[in-house]
């Protein structure tokens, strides 16, 4: 093994440890944040007994969950039942590997460590565990693995509620995977690259993609809610209908794993929103953050954290505001609204990019983005105007009237 490879491995291991620790602790604290945010929105105080301001509450919850009894339903498929929490947990954690969380930093070292030999690293170190050239596709592929865990949990439990939850989860996640994937095609069109680092870099040159690709952002956000099974799309859990959905039969730490997986997924979706549409770790209006020093790296990491936290807060905000959709509404929204919308949007962006780049000959990223932004304002106005005009989401009154009209016609013909 060459010293360079060893240096790379060493840095990778350090990054892995840091990212894993930060996400696991962060996810634990997110459960506290969720409870706090929900409490504040309901004029309550939230947990504030364990530790300072309730900060040790996740630790207490974890300890409780470890000490609880592990139950196995008598007729459950034992091995699949055991496998399911891990299957939903692992993809959720894997996704952090490809998300760039800070500006690349220059790391130079050359030292020998006893029997391990010489470690060498020169040049910029990307602040991402694995700077995959196909990072984006990796995210899409792995995030759809999460559905296996939930479907398996529902199936292996041998319980009708869990099975219903698992079925709903698989149908929902497969449906919204389509809209999610399609909503991201414009991002690829604009950046011309599938590596997440490159996408972030493109956004630094131009504008954050939320401006030139606003509709993509909205579709991705909505699909993200559905992918993570968060309210208003938490049909797989639906505690008022299915007890607890797919994890009805789970107890103790196995139940906790589903919880951790859910919050990890939330973090991932929020990190993806940040990376793809809000410039990742980019500090706007300055190029100081790309100089490769330690200070810019810390500052960009902090800003990335803030951006992600904002979106996590947004997810919680939505959760404690909106009620759950009906299942047919969910499916109709996914297939009849979001997917055609995403497809049309791809067409529009393709056409617009062709006109801008090849007909008008504008290749300056900022100007190109601004023109697209103008186009998006019009599109957003149209889409939200349509959504608002009661055409897509029909109240029961309208359905009733059409039924009545048909009955009247039949009477007339009879």
């Amino acid at each position: 093994m060459t010293p360079e490879m060893k240096g790379f491995l060493l840095l990778s291991v350090i990054k892995m440890l840091v990212v894993f620790t930060v996400t696991m602790v962060g996810v634990a604290l997110l459960t506290l944040m969720e409870r706090k945010v929900s409490a504040w929105m309901q004029n309550r105080r939230g947990p504030n007994r364990v530790g300072f301001a309730g900060l040790l509450q996740p630790a207490a919850d974890g300890l409780k969950n470890i000490l609880k009894e592990e139950t196995f339903p008598a007729m459950a498929n034992r091995w699949l039942f055991l496998l399911a929490p891990a299957m939903s947990f692992v993809p959720a954690l894997l996704l952090f590997a490809v998300i760039p969380f800070a500006a690349p930093v220059r790391v130079d070292f050359d030292f020998t460590l006893g029997p391990l030999g010489r470690f060498v690293h020169h040049g910029l170190m990307p602040m991402v565990v694995a700077d995959l050239p196909i990072g984006f596709l990796f995210v899409l592929a792995v995030s759809s693995m999460g559905v296996y865990g939930i479907a398996l949990a529902g199936w292996a439990s041998n319980s009708k509620y869990a099975l219903m939850g698992g079925l709903r989860a698989s149908a929902q996640m497969v449906s919204y995977e389509v809209a999610m994937g399609l909503s991201l095609i414009p991002v690829l069109l604009l950046s011309g690259n599938v590596s997440l680092s490159a996408i972030v870099h493109e956004q630094q040159l131009g504008l954050w993609y939320v401006l030139p690709l606003s509709l993509s952002f909205f579709i991705f956000l909505i699909s993200g809610f559905a992918e993570t099974n968060r309210l208003p799309f938490d049909m797989p859990e639906a505690e008022s209908e299915l007890i607890a959905g797919y994890h009805t039969e789970y107890s103790a730490m196995k139940f906790s794993f589903f919880f951790i997986a859910e919050y990890s997924n939330v973090v991932t979706v929020c990190a993806m929103v940040t990376t793809l549409f809000f410039g990742g770790w980019d500090i706007p209006f300055t190029h100081w953050d790309e100089t490769g020093g330690v200070l810019p790296a810390i500052a960009t990491a902090g800003l990335f954290f803030l951006k992600v936290m904002f979106w996590i807060f947004f997810v919680m905000w939505i959760r404690w505001t909106l009620p759950r959709f009906r299942y047919d509404q969910l499916m109709a929204l996914g297939w009849k609204v979001l997917m055609p919308l995403a497809l049309t949007y791809i067409m529009v962006i393709c056409l617009a990019l062709y006109l801008i780049e090849h007909r008008a000959g504008i290749t300056a990223p900022v100007l190109r983005s601004l023109i697209l932004f103008g186009l998006n304002v019009i599109i957003l106005g149209l889409v939200f105007g349509l959504l608002d005009s009661n055409v897509f989401v029909k109240g029961s009154g309208k359905q009733r009237r059409s039924l009545d009209a048909r009955a009247r016609r039949e009477r007339v013909t009879a």
Binding site: W40, M41, N43, R45, W317, T321, F384, S389, V393, G397
Partner: protein, 174 residues
């Protein structure tokens, strides 16, 4: 013939999901910064004179844990007339009367089973000596069941304020 259903045609601004969502989010966000209504129980109590939680303070007519009043010499005011066990609908008062050399009656045994008590307050109402009272107090938890039978000494040592029962001549307690 179809069943006649009244169909309401509401304007879009009332049924629009987009606007309702935005309105709801504004509402929940506003609530985050409002005053919290939670009472921090062990530190703040509804029985505190000034708990700072005016809406949570319990009524002075609250009928809670019993209390036996005593006279200046520290003896209970009870004359063992037997009215309270007579009137008690839950039959939770045990009274064995005794008599001293001067012919004063006093309770040899006076026990109230707080588990059987329905906290109707009849004992306080019927007492001619204003000795037994129900009190503005609700924290009676114990580690064993027999601790809930309060004897005379325990009843006399309670210090919480006594209930001002409902007065028919002043029904609103003003």
């Amino acid at each position: 013939m179809a069943i006649g259903v009244k169909v309401l045609q509401r304007p879009a601004r009332e049924v629009s999901y987009v606007r309702a969502t935005l309105k709801g989010m504004a509402l929940t966000f506003k609530h985050m910064f409002e005053k919290k209504v939670t009472m921090q129980y062990p530190e703040e109590k509804s029985t505190d004179a000034d708990s700072g939680m005016g809406q949570w303070s319990i009524s002075p007519r609250w009928r809670g844990t019993h209390r036996m009043l005593t006279d200046e010499q520290g003896r209970s005011k009870c004359v063992a007339c037997g009215l309270c066990p007579q009137v008690c609908p839950a039959n939770c008062i045990k009274l064995v009367p005794g008599e001293d050399e001067q012919g004063n009656r006093y309770p040899l045994i006076y026990e109230i089973d707080e588990f059987r008590c329905v906290f109707c307050g009849y004992c306080q109402e019927v007492c001619p000596e204003e000795a037994i009272h129900v009190g503005v107090h609700y924290e009676n938890s114990e580690y064993s069941r027999d601790r809930f039978v309060y004897d005379l000494e325990r009843l006399s040592s309670q210090t919480h304020p006594v209930s001002t029962l409902w007065d028919p001549s002043d029904p609103k307690g003003e």
